[in-house]
Symmetry: C2
Subunit: 240 residues, 2 copies
DNA sequence: ACCAGGTTGTGATCCGTATCACGCAGCTAG
DNA sequence: CTAGCTGCGTGATACGGATCACAACCTGGT
């Protein structure tokens, strides 16, 4: 198979290494076979838009490789990044199930491989495969859960410092660096994007980082961040 | 059957008038029969707590009668009301599906009738009835959708005036008064609770109402609110 | 009728952070 | 090499709304 945009294409779900530990992908053989027959394996370059908030749902996108930025956008141009999706996640799921417009905009941050399934095909698939339908319910619960977390952080944790600290701790947890005393993490996003994740302005993010550095809580090493004082960060994150 | 807390108990899902237009309740006869056999019809007084954020999921609560306040709460006591659930909604669904803790707290605002189903029974029921499972997926999509709306309003529409205007318009829409030029609506919540719905302080809500009245946009008639200038309200709601 | 507890109205003050307005560094392309 | 673009660092200012502190209400209960 071709390797556009510098990707190594994953040929089939059966041989995919991620399958076991991903919520949706780990289907029984029968269902997976049937899924393979309706999916379109596609590749996107960095910066491609999979779907835009407000569009009628065309279908679902199972992310196999690369990261996808999920955001929501106001009429006057302000953007809020909800999360960055990782391989194994199903995008556009809830819109495809309910038939309502996509709630978010999905844009690739890296070159990505994606399995696309048309909405009609997908709904038929769900009717025929009860097990898959349960998986979908689980995925949706997952999404609902993280939406609730987002709401909590936007609506309750008022100060921007608090939100930034929470975000940093979240990231270390995802990178499997949580256990370490001084976790490292790569800042793959610009200050502007981080600001959009916590609903604040770019300048504030810059100032907050400056403050954290001055207080020896974090330390920059190129584009990687070293967290020198996790306790202090947790303090800030849970400050009322 | 008894009528505790002044409720007229709905005997069975088969005879329930709401069934047809509710997402989850309108199941095929076979599934409904099976559902009837695992549900516990229960009644709650006003102010009862069905479940609390953070608890392990016991099961789902199908609301048949009355209103239930769904809220999320920070460690330092601040509360954010996400929505007020109406009959036909399924509460505690996503937690029961995923097995994670309840994301919210559910508290009755009126005397309520509720069908409770234990988690294990419910999961078994879903495995046996593929159709029901699809309904669950739809309900979850619905919930995810409204969570996204909440996020949008919390994260993007910055001014409190904007959020209040949106809330009022939402309410008129739900009451079927949307079409009218001067819709009425009953304010069943206190200023404090409204403040918790839009993530602001009680005083701000009072001030905002005072301002709307001064500008002749709304008019109070006891506990009902008359909207005199819907256009102006929409203006405020969509102001950047 | 009266008092208590919850709800509403309003002023004064203060703090966080948005916003504007720069200068500076690094990277890419002509 | 220089022009231009994008991302970062930092000051000055302004404003929305949180918070505190009371006063005026309106309930229902004894």
């Amino acid at each position: 198979m071709l390797s556009p945009y510098g990707l190594d294409i994953i040929e089939s779900c059966f041989t995919c290494k991620l399958r076991a530990d991903r919520l949706f992908c780990d289907l029984p053989a029968g269902a997976l076979q049937s899924f393979e027959s309706i999916k379109y394996a596609t590749a996107y370059p960095k910066g491609a838009v999979l779907f835009v908030e407000g569009q009628a749902p065309r279908g679902i996108y199972v992310l196999c490789k690369g990261r996808v930025k999920l955001s929501i956008c106001s009429t006057d141009g302000k953007t809020l990044i909800l999360k960055v999706a990782e391989p194994g996640e199903v995008l556009g799921l809830s819109a495809s199930v309910s038939g309502k417009a996509y709630e978010l905009t999905a844009e690739t941050l890296d070159p990505c491989q994606v399995n696309f399934v048309k909405r009609e095909d997908f709904l038929r698939f769900l009717k025929e495969h009860g097990e898959a339908c349960l998986r979908v319910a689980e995925q949706l619960s997952e999404k609902y859960n993280s939406a609730c977390h987002e709401i909590r952080s936007l609506g309750l944790s008022h100060s921007a410092a608090e939100k930034l600290a929470k975000l940093l701790l979240d990231w270390t947890a995802k990178n499997g660096e949580a256990a370490k005393v001084e976790p490292r993490l790569k800042l793959a996003l610009t200050h502007e994007e981080i600001a959009q994740m916590i609903g604040t302005s770019r300048e504030t993010v810059t100032r907050l980082f400056a403050d954290l550095k001055k207080r020896q809580i974090v330390q920059a090493k190129g584009s990687t961040l070293l967290i020198r004082n996790k306790a202090a960060l947790k303090q800030i994150a849970s400050a009322s």
